[in-house]
């Protein structure tokens, strides 16, 4: 297991390096002069020269890449051009919105998707099964930002229970802040819940055919206990895998949803950074998003190896 973990760790580091290289090439080498992109067409030569110096553009590319890597490792991400504050500080502030949003969405997705999947599998071919599968099809087809808008129409415009957008900050109180995250999290959770319901259902159907499930039933365990203790536990592996694989989808969704609900999170930050041509912030944030997806995938693979020893060989 340790050898397997080490091999995966080397792969992780190489993948992160490759991601950093791609991002660096696209955002700093491809545009020719990133300082000119940042300042726009009407930049004075003096301002351009000053930014050149600040971004270190007078140095060769490989040195800038290494400097950036060092900064990523040490948490020194440079100064945002538009905000004039360290990017690390910006990220930390915005993370306080995005992270709870993502966790809440993930939680909702599991809480909605898994019971539905179990229900569908245990009522296979019946009305409840068809209903869950229809829900899953709908959940996959409905764009999450549109679902968000519909939620706003119902719960903010219609019923007036929840704020239509914005975020008061955690200092406004846990309940108040959570209220602002409820609709965005639900919108973000919908497609994930649909996928989880599907995967849970098919994994349950697979395990329900196993001998140990028959044995559990034969020895007189109730159907509920059989489902929970024997079938569901074995069906968890594919569900965990999907959660990991879906993580980058969740990030992508969060970027859109934060813009729908005007939440001051990382997704909105990267968006404002594009509008302001703040390539420094864009570069760091894209690296953060991609890096998170890579690390979560790594964690899932490791977990997989832990669960199934056969996979350690590969």
């Amino acid at each position: 297991m340790i050898g397997y973990a080490l091999r995966r760790l080397v792969a992780l580091v190489l993948t992160l390096l490759a991601a950093a290289l791609v991002i660096f090439l696209v955002l700093e080498v491809l545009p020719g002069d990133p300082a000119a992109v940042t300042l726009g067409l009407n930049a004075s030569p003096e301002a351009l020269a000053a930014l050149h110096a600040e971004m270190g553009l007078d140095k060769p590319g490989w040195l800038r890449f290494l400097t950036w890597l060092g900064g990523l490792a040490s948490g020194d991400l440079g100064l945002s051009y538009t905000y004039r504050v360290p990017v690390a500080q910006l990220i930390a502030e915005r993370m306080a919105v995005t992270l709870p949003l993502a966790v809440l969405a993930m939680l909702l997705a599991v809480l909605i998707g898994m019971p539905l999947g179990v229900l569908a599998a245990s009522r296979r071919g019946r009305i409840a099964d068809a209903g869950v599968m229809a829900f899953a099809q709908a959940g996959l087809a409905i764009p999450n930002f549109w679902f968000g808008l519909l939620l706003v129409l119902v719960f903010a415009v219609g019923l007036g229970w929840l704020p239509a957008n914005g975020f008061p900050g955690w200092q406004a109180g846990f309940g108040t802040a959570l209220k602002s995250l409820a609709m965005p999290a639900l919108a973000l959770a919908l497609p994930q819940a649909a996928i989880i319901a599907r995967v849970t259902r098919s994994a349950m159907l697979d395990t329900l055919q196993e001998d140990f499930v028959r044995t559990a039933r034969a020895k007189g365990l109730s159907e509920g206990v059989t489902l929970r203790r024997h079938a569901l536990r074995n069906a968890l592996i594919p569900v965990v895998t999907i959660l990991g694989l879906q993580f980058s989808v969740l990030i992508a969704g969060a970027i859109i949803i934060e813009n729908v609900f005007a939440l001051p999170g990382l997704g909105r930050l990267v968006f404002q950074a594009i509008a302001q041509h703040d390539l420094i912030v864009v570069k760091d944030l894209v690296m953060l998003f991609a890096g998170l997806a890579i690390i979560v995938n790594f964690a899932v693979e490791l977990l997989y190896g832990l669960i199934d020893p056969r996979l350690r060989q590969a």
Partner: protein, 286 residues
């Protein structure tokens, strides 16, 4: 033997026309038809503004109402279908063509260096959802429809590479490949004449489902303003513009969203149905 082929494992007659497949086919065809008809006819001009008629509800004259500039929403949705289908076609086309070539090469060189390089690169792109790629492209080159095509295409490429490789590896183990080898065919000839025809069905089915995902992704990108630009109508951007007026005019937010959802649903169902028809072993209801 032929009887056995026509029957599902349960002995039931194989249902080529399951209800969901039929729904999927009808919805998909309707969208394609809508896009094609929009070249010849729309109830009103999708770009002509009529301030006096702005923000009207659905009526006999404007079936889906009018937007904040008095443009006919139904006409905009019709023309917007072109845009969704074009981006989907471009993105999936690029991904399928290049991904399949790479996957087939990887299968020929299985476990070789080239195989590893291709497959690790494919894994790697997982970390870049379409919106991230589009964000990078927009940051350096400004927004545009091409960004959406490339960003979504980048995601499709590894998908098809992985699928083509996996399916091709299975074909390579079959007896008729041995026979072809013995007959002196090169790897390239075997790939083109034996492997590719055998995996084409799976690839087409997957393309249908990837197409649905591409339409969904395009809607998200154009909602964010990263995709199709004005004055070309696009469903995603219509939703973005609707948000301001949504409280008083909810239909502005409802119709374009329903168009996206029904299109994605249609192609998803079509893909599932095709998969069941081609390979009963992969049936989802198993």
């Amino acid at each position: 033997m032929s009887v056995a082929v026509d029957k599902a494992p349960g002995g039931r007659k194989r249902r080529w026309l399951s209800p969901s497949f039929a729904i999927g086919a009808v919805l998909s065809l309707a969208v394609v038809a809508m896009a094609l008809v929009s070249y010849l006819w729309t109830p009103h001009s999708p770009t002509q503004m009529a301030i006096l008629k702005r923000l009207q509800g659905p009526s006999a004259a404007n079936w889906f109402g009018t937007d904040q500039f008095g443009r006919d929403v139904f006409s905009m949705i019709m023309v917007g279908a072109r845009n969704s289908l074009a981006v989907g076609l471009g993105a999936v086309g690029i991904g399928m063509l290049q991904g399949t070539v790479l996957g087939l090469i990887a299968a020929v060189r299985r476990d070789g260096l080239l195989d590893h390089v291709i497959m690790r690169t494919a894994d790697f792109t997982h970390a870049f959802p379409a919106v991230l790629t589009a964000i990078m492209m927009t940051a350096i080159a400004g927004p545009g429809m091409l960004n959406a095509v490339v960003a979504i295409g980048v995601l499709n490429l590894p998908y098809f590479a992985r699928l083509a490789r996996g399916a091709a590896l299975q074909v390579w183990t079959q007896d008729f490949i041995q026979a072809a080898r013995a007959a002196g065919l090169t790897s390239r000839q075997i790939t083109l004449h034996h492997v590719l025809p055998n995996i084409a069905g799976i690839l087409v089915v997957q393309a249908t489902i990837q197409f649905a995902l591409a339409v969904l992704a395009e809607a998200g990108l154009s909602y964010l303003g990263l995709g199709t630009q004005p004055p070309n109508p696009s469903w995603g951007r219509m939703l973005n513009e609707a948000q301001t007026f949504m409280a008083a005019q909810p239909w502005l937010a409802i119709f374009p969203g329903a168009a996206i959802a029904l299109t994605v649903l249609g192609f998803n169902l079509l893909g599932d149905g095709l998969r069941d028809a081609i390979d009963p072993r992969l049936r989802r209801s198993r």
